[in-house]
Symmetry: C2
Subunit: 187 residues, 2 copies
């Protein structure tokens, strides 16, 4: 704990995370990651024995990062409605990256569904964390029926917006649809 090796491990995970997002998991080689960190490939294998292992570490890291982020949101906003809006606006706050690389969660799941279904079961935990947090917020708002369904509905809406924004590199669409989604009300 706190050793030099642990710190390097974290740097490797951070570099892999970024590269998987920007160029995709399959398209990212160990050399890419090693170069980004500034270490040799040999050293890399001391920390991670296989590509599955680094992917697993990246997913764990992302899940932890999402949990931390949502805790901060909870501190920042006391009104669940505001929290919901902040969730919907998330792609808007990161427009440039969303436009170029899509959603880190959605695009990874889409990729893994085709190349590694075992890891997909691990990756969709990222969605699950958002879902459970959304369920909480809906409860606070007094929604009692179909809470899980509605939480999943929000996730799907945001995913759809991001997929199309990414495919057409269209920020205007992102802005429009985000605005629209905030008009949502329980029917």
């Amino acid at each position: 704990m706190g050793s030099k090796g642990e710190a390097l491990r974290q740097r490797i995970v951070a570099a892999a995370d970024e590269l998987f997002y920007r160029q995709g998991y399959e398209n990212t080689s160990f050399s890419d990651i090693a170069d980004a960190v500034g270490i040799s490939r040999g050293n890399f294998y001391y920390h991670f024995k296989s590509k599955d292992e680094i992917l697993s570490a990246v997913i764990d890291s992302r899940v932890a990062a999402i949990v931390t982020m949502l805790n901060e949101w909870d501190k920042k906003f006391k009104d669940p409605r505001q929290r919901l809006y902040y969730y919907i606006d998330m792609p808007l706050r990161d427009q440039e990256n969303i436009c170029l690389h899509g959603c880190p969660v959605g695009s990874l799941c889409t990729e893994l569904a085709k190349i590694n279904r075992t890891m997909l079961d691990d990756a969709n935990r990222m969605f699950a964390v958002f879902r459970d947090w959304l369920i909480l917020q809906l409860n606070f708002l007094g929604v009692r029926k179909n809470v899980k369904k509605i939480a999943m509905h929000f996730i799907a809406r945001v995913q759809g917006i991001v997929t199309v924004t990414n495919a057409f590199e269209d920020k205007d669409f992102l802005q429009q649809e985000t605005k629209q989604l905030k008009k949502w009300q329980c029917r």
Copy 2:
């Protein structure tokens, strides 16, 4: 035209199309395609000189297939509302594949955004064909304002549903959300 070579070319494109959908573009090798068709790798290169070239042919083929399909829908349904429903129900009619491999259009665009942005500009024509057809149907329905936005909205909604269905392998969600989306009305 109609020669043996042309027919083989079509078979190669069909095999590549299927494989790109099931295992992703990057993850599909020339050997995979050659094996699926039952020809040698060498022969393959007589028909397509590079991987970009086969991808381009697959995209063209998919665009043509979508155009043909929409023409058939137009013949099958005279009511634009029914046509819209048929579009929304499209993933439902192909549940098994959607659950396992996602949307052929969306997942390819998501992949290409990360590995080949030039081809992405080509691939999003698949979305554009649907969009233009949706615009027509909305016109028939008497919608006059924001027609393009609404068409894109439908595409995004379906994409979101499919992405989440695929990530969680959850057919129930697909069925629920599809039903919900058909309740859509212009606000």
